[in-house]
């Protein structure tokens, strides 16, 4: 699955309208038609399917210069899954122009969650790739799995049980998101189960075209979740959510015994604020005195309500002031590990974002993606960047202190 041969018909569903020019962050920097989905698909078709053009270094470059942000896919009325076609093409091209070191980190290291010593080593290795310290995520001194694991009971009357898929961003970089997620869920009557042994969702691996590594991660994760006894599986990361909802099943063969479970999981995965908003808060915080703005992550297309939830949960609290960005849904340029290989391009994309954040005059930026959080914070002077569930947890703290 995720094989190019499965996408031959769907490539021809591209109507060539060119509307993907409106939202492709890479195109909007370069203004080169060759960098927009219409031509990327056309090229993949000519080079890899019809074989009317030879493969070339320029072809590889055009394939690599894609954020996999899915903005084109979300814009495409013909519903061409451009991101999957690019992943399939990268996989078929073989791994890529990316350095062996980064490939090692994303494909091997992240499979071995919990081995913080090893991750620490990976972190230091990544830093040797010549990227300034400020531009590289720093591993948290204590990973999330050292704070919570197993079953955490609901506070007060139990409404139900949910499982928590802990992404790498939360586990290694931002345990505060995980802690807030557990606190807010339990405070609202949800028992939280965190199955031990979780590994990376696999999205960095598929971005590299390493489908085999991703498949292993999918299988490992699927086996851990007892879906029958939970109402939902919660993620705090929109990219993990997209991966689980849209890609897990596609990575497995049709006859794979885990297929059924992958599809069941897709039906139960929710981003944490989306879940809280849909189920309603049993306990509304008193106030949140903060002016904030919302950087909507690109990987939002898998849930129609995931972008409304933080606005509704936080924006309605007394004292909270949501100051919308001029373009709330524009990419920040980070895109997983993209910013490491395409620093100039990513920084250029980010610069427009930073200008809009400054113009919003908000003190705090919220976003549900750990990579956006890191990358925006690295570029901002004084504003803090955080996850909306952290602000919600703070609001509860404020309530408790009153």
């Amino acid at each position: 699955m995720l094989k190019l041969e499965n996408y031959q018909d769907v490539i021809n569903k591209c109507s060539h309208c060119g509307n993907c020019q409106a939202t492709c962050p890479v195109y909007l920097e370069d203004l080169l038609e060759s960098h927009v989905a219409r031509n990327r698909l056309n090229l993949i078709n000519q080079v890899m399917i019809l074989k009317t053009m030879p493969s070339s270094s320029r072809f590889k470059e055009i394939l690599d210069r894609c954020l996999l942000c899915t903005n084109c896919t979300q814009t495409c009325s013909s519903k061409v899954p451009v991101d999957e076609i690019i992943i399939a093409a990268r996989a078929e091209m073989g791994k890529s122009t990316l350095g062996g070191l980064k490939s090692f980190v994303v494909s091997k290291m992240l499979q071995q969650r919990g081995l913080t010593g090893l991750m620490g080593k990976a972190g230091s290795l990544v830093q040797k790739m010549g990227v300034a310290a400020r531009e590289m995520p720093q591993l948290a001194s204590k990973s999330f799995d050292k704070f919570y694991s197993g079953t955490i009971p609901a506070e007060g009357e139990q409404r139900g049980r949910v499982a928590y898929f802990v992404g790498c961003g939360t586990n290694f970089l931002y345990p505060d998101t995980g802690i807030a997620t557990v606190k807010v869920l339990t405070r609202n009557g949800w028992e939280v189960v965190i199955p031990p042994g979780q590994v990376c969702c696999g999205i960095p691996a598929i971005a590299e075209g390493d489908l085999a590594a991703a498949r292993e991660m999918v299988a490992t994760n699927l086996k851990l979740f007892d879906l029958e006894n939970v109402e939902a599986v919660i993620t705090d990361c929109t990219s993990c959510g997209m991966m689980i909802k849209e890609k897990f099943s596609k990575l497995l063969d049709a006859e794979d015994p885990l297929q059924e479970k992958a599809q069941a999981l897709a039906g139960k995965i929710y981003e944490v604020t989306d879940f809280l908003q849909q189920k309603g808060l049993t306990d509304t915080p008193a106030a949140l005195n903060i002016s904030f703005t919302y950087h909507v992550p690109c990987h939002r297309g898998w849930s129609p309500t995931v972008v409304d939830a933080p606005r509704e949960l936080l924006g309605t609290l007394p004292g909270a002031q949501l100051q919308e960005l001029r373009d709330p849904e524009k990419c920040c340029g980070a895109a997983g590990t993209f910013f490491m290989e395409h620093r100039e391009l990513s920084e250029s994309i980010r610069s427009h974002r930073l200008e809009q954040i400054e113009a919003s005059e908000a003190q705090t930026v919220i976003t549900q993606c750990p990579v956006c959080r890191f990358y925006l914070a690295a570029g901002l002077k004084s504003q803090q960047v955080t996850h909306p569930v952290i602000l919600l947890a703070q609001a509860y703290e404020n309530s408790s202190q009153q």
């Binding site: 109507s15 309208c17 060119g18 203004l31 080169l32 060759s34 009325s77 013909s78 519903k79």
Partner: protein, 463 residues
């Protein structure tokens, strides 16, 4: 790098010259997915009018074909390099130079994306009505070159009604400025409007002056569900005749609504055969009065339902889905060939009947959507199988529809232009005297026939 590429790099800098086939492939087609021409030999992305002029002057000197291009969102093949040569991609000429509130005018470079311009003027309480449905990406220079229109044509006219002046690089590389910020001028030939709709065959539009209106204070969307296509067409004529002119009045068949419903929430009604999606704009009082008139007409003519859309978010989604109707159609079909026949609006019912008859007689599926209020319909051939037989049927149906459109006193293209797709019909609409006159104009501008050659008339304009 060959000599041409080296020369171009010397003229405008190598970062603005594309020569690798992977980059050039993008220029071999426009928004018509079923059609591809050849690759150009090079493409350039100038950032100033002077750079365009340098390239044009060089091409003139060496007799190299030049194809101007905006977003490549056209539907006529006009921006494709059928004779190779150089594509001048205007996307980096993208500065809004001035929005003048006192004079209600604006000045932009040719590559400004229409949607960005709409946003900029609307933020100042001003209004630029032309709205080709590719507006999220299309460029204003391209709009001028094709005399583009859109749904708002019914009330506000098309691009040509707003252009007051142009900056044009002529085929020999000289730069002219026509018209200006003034809204009237009685001096010499109106070159501004000769260039408007010239499809890149007379020069490259690098700057555009337009007049602006005041942004209407409010809008309201409504949907009319009709029993039959004929009934919908007759209601359209009656609404216009009674003077309740909507800002937009789109005619859609059930199939169009069905595909749009995959995209919008709440869904549009589907319990009819034809539908009118209408937007009224103006003061709330004007809108109320016009809606009353439309409701009366619909009652008298026994439309199935008239529904006002109160939820602004839903209304926006409906119009967005309407803009995306062709890509949406591709989720069901594998080929969609959109025609652009425009008739006097009173003849819309005749055209609608004719299209249904032609579809039945040829044995082909023809979807109907269009800006019915201004007589501009887009009958669209829809095919699942792609083979020679279906292609022949499509050709036959198109010929019959075009012929019928002309018999009804219409034109072969309301807003897409001729490009290469409708060349064979040009002499169905114009007599030879008129075509020869156009060719002499072309000759006067472009003696070597290098400016977007192979477009508008069949044998190419360069003879």
């Amino acid at each position: 790098m060959n000599g041409l590429v080296k020369d171009l790099a010397r003229l405008i800098g190598d970062s603005k010259v594309l020569f690798q086939p992977e980059d050039l492939l993008a220029y071999a087609n426009d928004a018509t997915h079923y059609f591809r021409t050849q690759l150009p030999d090079a493409a350039v992305l100038p950032t100033s009018t002077e750079e365009v002029a340098r390239v044009m002057s060089y091409a003139h000197q060496h007799h190299i074909p030049v194809t101007p291009r905006g977003a490549g969102s056209g539907l006529s093949g006009g921006a494709t390099p059928v004779k190779g040569g150089i594509v001048v991609d205007t996307k980096r000429l993208n500065r809004i130079l001035e929005i003048d509130r006192a004079n209600m005018t604006a000045s932009v470079e040719g590559g400004v994306v229409l949607q960005n311009f709409h946003r900029a003027v609307e933020e100042r309480g001003l209004f630029y009505p032309p709205d080709p449905q590719s507006m999220s990406v299309c460029t204003i220079g391209g709009n001028v070159a094709t005399r583009a229109g859109g749904p708002r044509g019914v009330k506000y006219g098309t691009t040509g009604n707003y252009v007051t002046g142009l900056e044009v690089v002529l085929p020999d590389g000289s730069i002219i400025k026509t018209g200006g910020k003034f809204v009237k001028q009685s001096v010499g030939y109106d070159l501004t409007h000769l260039m408007t709709g010239s499809e890149g065959t007379l020069g490259i539009i690098t700057g555009v002056n337009v007049r602006l209106l005041t942004l209407p204070p409010s809008t309201r969307t409504m949907v009319v569900v009709c029993e039959t296509l004929d009934q919908a067409a007759e209601i359209v004529s009656e609404i216009i005749a009674r003077g309740a002119v909507p800002a937009m009045m789109e005619f859609l068949i059930k199939l169009a609504i069905t595909v749009m419903n995959n995209y919008v929430d709440p869904p549009l009604p589907t319990d009819g055969e034809a539908f009118l999606l209408i937007e009224m704009d103006g003061t709330p009082a004007q809108i109320e009065s016009d809606i009353k008139t439309i409701k009366e007409i619909c009652n008298e003519m026994k439309a199935r339902e008239v529904r006002e859309v109160d939820d602004e978010r839903a209304a926006k989604a409906y119009w967005n889905a309407r803009s995306n109707i062709y890509p949406l159609i591709m989720t069901i079909f594998n080929r969609a060939i959109s025609e652009d026949i425009t008739v006097p609006r009173s003849r819309i019912p005749d055209l609608v009947r004719a299209v249904q008859e032609i579809a039945a007689s040829v044995g082909i599926m023809i979807g109907l959507a269009g800006h019915a209020g201004d007589g501009n319909m887009h009958p669209t051939i829809l095919q699942t199988e792609i083979n020679d037989e279906m292609a022949a049927k499509a050709k036959q149906a198109i010929e019959l529809m075009v012929r019928r459109g002309l018999e009804l006193g219409g034109t072969i293209s309301g807003e897409h232009g001729i490009g290469i797709h409708k060349q064979e019909f040009l002499d169905w609409e114009f007599d030879q005297v008129q075509i020869d006159l156009m060719k002499r104009i072309k000759q006067a501008f472009d003696p070597y026939g290098i400016m977007n050659p192979g477009k508008i008339w069949l044998e190419g304009g360069e003879q």
